[in-house]
């Protein structure tokens, strides 16, 4: 299905890897995006470490919060992209949707890993323990494991249609966990602090500015990584198409050789 579609409308894949003019413009766009992200990252780090004050109760370890929370949001966005793209793939068999689904899962796992590592480091100081069995932590771990499973199955299952469909279903199932993670603190009692609520944030103005900058730059970084991953994914699809084309040409060569022998 994928091969047929790419053969029919494979311009996006070929452009991504064959060095055409549109590839060059896409590359420039990505470089500009990466440059903006790098500058934004420097500004955000300045705001976090020089502008925002040190928190009174927890001290310097609270600075983890400025990238812990945005990383969690970036992971949710990436996983949601993977889910939507997976649904599109299941309905339409669209090759581009499959590439987006895989990119979303991969980038989401990177950000979710950050959340699962930075959170316990913060918890060691705030709670006196790296890990507790509270709902949000366990649900985040389940979310991470679901998408790690997605990536493992994609890797060991090869490029077959069945693997893609199993993974698409896994991505859709995994995203069901996100609202549970989000509302677990409100629904079930846990240790997780509720700094940002409907009534506003419980942090100072300087901290809010730093948090906002970290949010923006983390989302820029997530989009940048996903765009690069999509470009590589489209190259992989195009590579499959070329392999098939090569096999066809070799069959033609064999047929010609047999014809000349006869």
């Amino acid at each position: 299905m994928i091969t047929h579609e790419v053969a029919k409308s494979g311009r996006w894949g070929r452009d991504a890897v064959m060095g055409t003019s549109s590839d060059k413009s896409r590359f420039d766009w990505l470089v500009a995006w990466a440059a903006v992200t790098a500058v934004g990252m420097c500004v955000a780090l300045y705001l976090v470490f020089a502008y925002a004050p040190v928190e009174a109760t927890m001290g310097i370890v609270q600075k983890i919060f400025y990238f812990h929370v945005p990383s969690a949001i970036a992971a949710y966005v990436a996983f949601t992209v993977s889910c939507v793209a997976s649904a599109v793939y299941l309905v339409r068999g669209n090759a581009r949707a499959d590439v987006w689904a895989r990119a979303g899962a991969e980038v989401g796992v990177i950000f979710c890993t950050m959340v699962l590592i930075s959170g316990p480091l913060w918890g060691r100081k705030a709670w006196g323990a790296f890990w507790t069995g509270e709902p949000r932590l366990m649900l985040t771990l389940v979310l991470w494991l679901t998408f790690v499973a997605y990536l493992v199955v994609r890797r060991v299952g090869g490029p077959g249609e069945m693997t893609r469909r199993i993974c698409a279903a896994l991505a859709i199932l995994g995203v069901v966990d996100i609202p549970l993670v989000r509302y677990s603190v409100q629904r079930w009692r846990g240790n997780h602090p509720r700094v940002i609520t409907k009534g506003g944030s419980g942090i100072s103005d300087e901290m809010e500015v730093a948090l906002l900058a970290a949010f923006v730059v983390t989302l820029l970084l997530m989009v940048c990584l996903m765009a690069v991953r999509v470009r590589i994914g489209s190259a992989e699809v195009e590579s499959d198409v070329l392999h098939r084309r090569l096999a066809r040409v070799r069959r033609r060569q064999d047929a010609l050789a047999r014809g000349s022998l006869n």
């Binding site: 890897v17 006196g128 771990l141 090869g158 240790n191 690069v228 590589i232 590579s239 010609l256």
Partner: protein, 119 residues
């Protein structure tokens, strides 16, 4: 999907199921342990008469928050830079493979076209 791919997929799924079961048991075991009481920001902890015994001077646990923060930011950068490096190497490999494949296909097709014309 051919047979070796099916076997690999089955082995991967079994490994995942095993890991998931082990983690579920670990989660249940850790859930049996009562979590510490929630601590709210700005709330006074250890007020007189709450039953806590103060540690003698200098013997209290002192967790180095700076080291934890550095570790968290270190992990953040290692993950991001590691992933960017992986993407760069994949892009280079794909680009080289695509170039070689495209040349191979074009050469073969041109040669076959010439042979067919000659015939």
């Amino acid at each position: 999907m051919n047979r070796p791919q099916r076997c690999r997929l089955r082995a991967g799924l079994l490994t995942l199921a095993l890991c998931g079961t082990m983690l579920a048991f670990a989660g249940t075991a850790s859930a049996d342990v009562a979590p510490p009481e929630p601590q709210l920001y700005g709330e006074e902890v250890g007020t007189p008469g709450s039953g806590f015994v103060p540690a003698p001077d200098g013997e209290g646990e002192n967790i180095n928050g700076g080291a934890l923060m550095l570790a968290a930011y270190g992990v953040f950068w290692v993950l991001i830079l590691g992933y960017v490096g992986t993407l760069a190497s994949r892009a280079r490999r794909d680009s080289a493979e695509m170039g070689a494949l495209k040349r191979q296909v074009t050469d073969l097709e041109d040669r076959l076209d010439e042979i067919e014309k000659g015939a």
